[in-house]
């Protein structure tokens, strides 16, 4: 059967998991590997780590975070941000990544896609395309949505695959962080333009957005950040421990400040998402099928902290 992958995306700045809106306005949410472990236990099909300032500052400090994550996580991990050379790819694979996502360097030096695919296999090379609508066109951006390239998204996607990309990670900059839903037309046009899987990213705020991306957008995998991260934060007590870099105002307000987008983003657990997808007739992995003895997660987790789930004002029912 063909199954759809559900992939939490963790944007990383320095040592922290962060989340922005339109790839800007960053908020620190916590330590990436703690969120990653939770997503692994809850049945995430893969994980995506993106160092969102690596291209800007030319640094590459992801390896340590990847190493720490890979110790306890046995699902595929894709890592991107500042990947510029075969040596960068090799280092990330050695640290525990299974695939690397390349955007900026792939645009500036497309030969890196070919060389990477030849050296490590196409399955390792994910070309990340950050798309923005400019008038009637969809153009590819680099440096995490900061730099214009003038490249047409669909033409670039085809070229990337011809050069050896094994998958396309497609992020809509217009939708990213807004909770307004995936850009379905963009997703469908890219998915139909290339023979390899397309991971749709950017804009997921509600459960129905995920099934739309698959059914109308023809995506092979769906990636989301805010909905999963906010769900995790709701479940976690003691958020004070996460606060070393960046904007911590969000954390200071704790869950109260989640209301700032309560009408746009409904926190969802991975298990909830998969149930919803199956209800919509979409096949996805049931990680509980083989593990009858695993302790249940989800609601029990909240109760252990003595914090029963409160009704979210303004949040629509699932």
């Amino acid at each position: 059967m063909k199954t759809i992958r559900v992939i939490p995306r963790l944007d990383i700045k320095g040592p922290n998991l962060v989340k922005g809106i339109h790839l800007e306005g960053l908020r620190v949410l916590g330590k990436p590997w703690e969120f990653a472990c939770k997503y692994y236990r809850d049945g995430a099909d893969e994980l995506l780590y993106i160092d969102i300032v690596a291209s800007l500052y030319g640094r590459n400090n992801l390896s340590d975070i990847v190493r720490k994550t890979a110790e306890n996580i046995f699902i595929p991990l894709t890592v991107g941000g500042g990947v510029r050379s075969l040596d960068d790819i090799r280092e990330l694979l050695r640290a525990g990544a299974d695939k690397v996502a390349i955007n900026t360097a792939a645009i500036h030096e497309p030969g890196l896609i070919t060389e990477g695919a030849r050296a490590f296999g196409s399955q390792c090379i994910v070309v990340s395309i950050e798309a923005k609508r400019i008038g009637n066109r969809c153009e590819a951006f680099t440096d995490n949505g900061r730099e214009v390239t003038g490249r047409d998204v669909f033409e670039w996607a085809r070229e990337a695959v011809d050069r050896g990309a094994g998958e396309i990670l497609l992020t809509s900059i217009d939708r990213e962080g807004t909770g307004g839903g995936f850009d379905l037309e963009l997703t469908r046009r890219v998915a139909e333009a290339v023979p390899v899987p397309v991971i749709a990213c950017g804009g997921c705020g509600k459960p129905r957005h995920l099934s739309e991306a698959i059914q109308a957008g023809k995506a092979d995998a769906i990636s989301a950040a805010s909905v999963f991260h906010y769900h995790s934060l709701e479940q976690e007590a003691g958020m004070e421990k996460f606060s070393e870099e960046g904007n911590i105002e969000f954390l200071g307000h704790k869950r109260g400040s989640l209301h700032f987008m309560a009408d746009k983003i409904i926190p969802m657990g991975i298990r909830d998402v998969k149930i919803r997808l199956r209800d919509a007739g979409i096949q996805c992995r049931d990680h509980g099928a083989s593990l009858s003895n695993e302790p249940s997660q989800g609601n029990d987790h909240r109760l252990r902290h003595g914090q029963p789930l409160q009704h979210r004002e303004g949040a629509a029912p699932y």
């Binding site: 063909k2 110790e71 049931d286």
Partner: protein, 210 residues
């Protein structure tokens, strides 16, 4: 062979001692062997032959100790591969490695390679074929429930000649293919147990007890 380190991490996680080697002498003296591999059939076989690993593997298998192949490592166990021309394999299990059939218009879309999770089941007993496995007892899958999901990345599939060598099957696109194969002490999976969550780790734990 980009997944070497993932396999090593998974094996260490279940408290196995590991040694990554291409040295025929160390291969010959191992208690158990895992043959990993990503990439193309021809290149993989060429590397094994160049380093004398092919002979070391045949010698190891003759001792009765367990050998497990993963992904391309599993495919290399067959007689021949059809990726980028025809190539001879290790011929530990008679059969061939062929590409997935392409989608046909109007019959639902799917992409090649298959990248993602899929379920495994006991082999179907179709028509006149006999000798099909009816359970997973005594094999790497003995503690895995039929229907469990594993992580696949591949465009080619193995077709063992003897249906008795098929331990598990999986459906993708227009094909029902052999996702785990077995012949005495030799077995292999098309999926990546080291990237397949707890079900994959369980399979590796069982392998360590064989």
């Amino acid at each position: 062979m980009g997944n070497l380190f993932s396999i090593e991490r998974a094996l260490r996680h279940i408290d196995a001692e590991t040694d990554i080697t291409s040295d025929p002498a160390r291969i010959a003296s191992a208690d158990r062997l895992v043959l990993p591999g990503v990439g193309a059939f021809g290149n993989g076989m060429e590397e094994l032959t160049k380093r004398g690993i092919d002979e070391a593997l045949r010698g190891f298998v003759a001792t009765g100790r367990p050998l497990f192949g993963i992904c391309l490592g599993m495919q290399l166990m067959l007689s021949e591969g059809h990726e980028f021309g025809l190539h001879r394999g290790l011929d530990l299990i008679r059969g061939a490695v062929v590409r997935f059939r392409d989608p046909v218009d109007g019959e639902g879309s799917y992409k090649i390679p298959q990248i993602g999770w899929n379920g495994i089941t006991l082999p179907a007993k179709n028509g006149a074929s006999t000798g099909c496995r009816s359970d997973w007892k005594g094999t790497v899958l003995q503690d895995v429930q039929p229907g469990s999901f594993f992580y696949f990345v591949h465009s080619f599939v193995t077709v063992p000649e003897d249906r008795g060598h098929v331990l598990a099957e999986t459906d993708y696109g227009r094909d029902r293919f052999c996702s785990v194969l077995i012949r005495e002490n030799v077995s292999g999976s098309q999926f990546h147990p080291e990237r397949s969550g707890e079900a994959g780790l369980q399979m590796l734990r069982t392998f360590m007890t064989l």
